[in-house]
Amino acid sequence: MSDNEIIRCQGLHFSYPNGMEALKDINLTITQGEYVAFVGQNGSGKTTLVKHFNGLLKPTQGSIHVFGEETRDKKVSALARKVGYVFQNPDDMLFCSSVEEEVAYGPTMLGFAVAEIKEKVESILQELGLQTQRETHPFALSLGDRQRLAVACVLSLDPEVFAFDEPTTGQDYFGGESIMEVIDQLHAKGKTILIITHDMPLVAEHAQRVVVMNQGQIALEGTPKEVFSQTNYLRTLSLRSPQVTRWAQNLGLEGQTVLDIKEMVTWLEEKYLPAPVQGKGGLA
């Protein structure tokens, strides 16, 4: 095992008790500080796989090592300090009667000192902009704020790895962006980020590596550019590249893949369009 390898799945299979095989022969290694997006159609096994990373699920065949240790005999509570999982629906994990209590819950359960908990809670509330709502009942918060609170709860355990299950679902664009900002900051601090999402522009703009799941298997893996260059194959996996990517492909861009608006404008101006005629354009 290399020094900075933190998750390794070898021939991992998982079947639900009813016999439904949800994961088949997953081989995957994740190293420290990576920013990995898991994409794939509903039911392709993304969530099932990520739930193996913190021991919520255990493989029925094959193995998974997290920080060098097999999860089979590990308790979820032991793994929670290393791999934090933010549920798709924040309401699945919130149950205290105030924001402050909610954030303090994890460290309290892990037996942190009172003063340390207080300090931790304070800095996290500041960081996520929830300090004015510390007394508020979690269910009185907007969805966006509940989502941030769910992140805060996981932050309080200071794990090395953060797994986010569809963190921007149900958010408007700016709400989604502000959550992504928090996630990007965690990554900048050296945390490993795993994110499950259907939002392909988000993947294109934030992730460094993409794992495409299909029917319980890894169908495709690579950088966003490598993955989104295969628009036609992605379609068969029920996925759609970002609009700018498809646009550039439609215009006949070959050899490189456009991922976001900035790249598209640059490519168009440098390679595709003649220089604008001065004085003619710029209609209001």
Partner: protein
Amino acid sequence: MQSIVEFRAVTFSYPRADKPAIKDISFSLYPGEFSAMIGPTGAGKSTLCYCFNGVVPQLFSGTLNGTVIVSGCDTCQMDIPVLAQHVGLVVQNARTQLFNVTVLQEVGFGCENLGWPRQKIQKRVEEALAFVGLSGYESRQPSALSGGQQQRVAIACVLAMDPEILVLDEPTSELDPIGSEQVMEVIARLNRELGKTIFMVTHDMEFVAKYASRVLVLNECCLMEDGIPQDIFGKEDLLRAARIRPPQVCEVSQQLRRHGYSIPRIPISLEEGVETLRRLHDER
């Protein structure tokens, strides 16, 4: 043309709320229109949807001022079962509204409650399932279907009652991209082939550009704008205020225009975008 839906100065407040959920909303919908409502989370979009079939204020109590007229009925005066035959509401996260053991029972449930004769119900359910592409799924369990299939079951449930108007609250928000496209195609065909009036809330601007003939922008409980997609997506300040990001095709075109390119009409769909850039490309 005679309107099919009319909101006249509608203001609604939930009990004990310190401000209204929607405020002074006035607009009319005409038969066969496909309208999209967009706006940030918390703007009041879902509340507005509940006004169409009388759920607000009859089931969700509160104070409603103004009048909502749907197919000639005042929604405050008319019983909800009667309104359900004029307007079908597919709520946000529709899987929560599925509860029967089989798809057949689920889709027939509304009609049964209207006391229709058995043969009529069977015919309507059959037609509705065929329309959403789920013939052959009659004996399947709704909860075991994929997200996209569940959403189409939910649409079939209201379609079976044959309403003139369908209101859909974020019909694709939790679906993978291709599942979303399939649901949108069904909605488009409801409009095109059956002449249904469609009112859809969504955060997916690519779908708005592709399918809607009219866009209503709701922000901070008020109707800010009402117009054709081309006009709405051209208003950058309005979109920023309402926390809406236009389709990537629009954003790129607007930047090019600012850089001096002559783009008299901002494209809003991928097809229009390809056409616009090809024209600029050939203009040497």
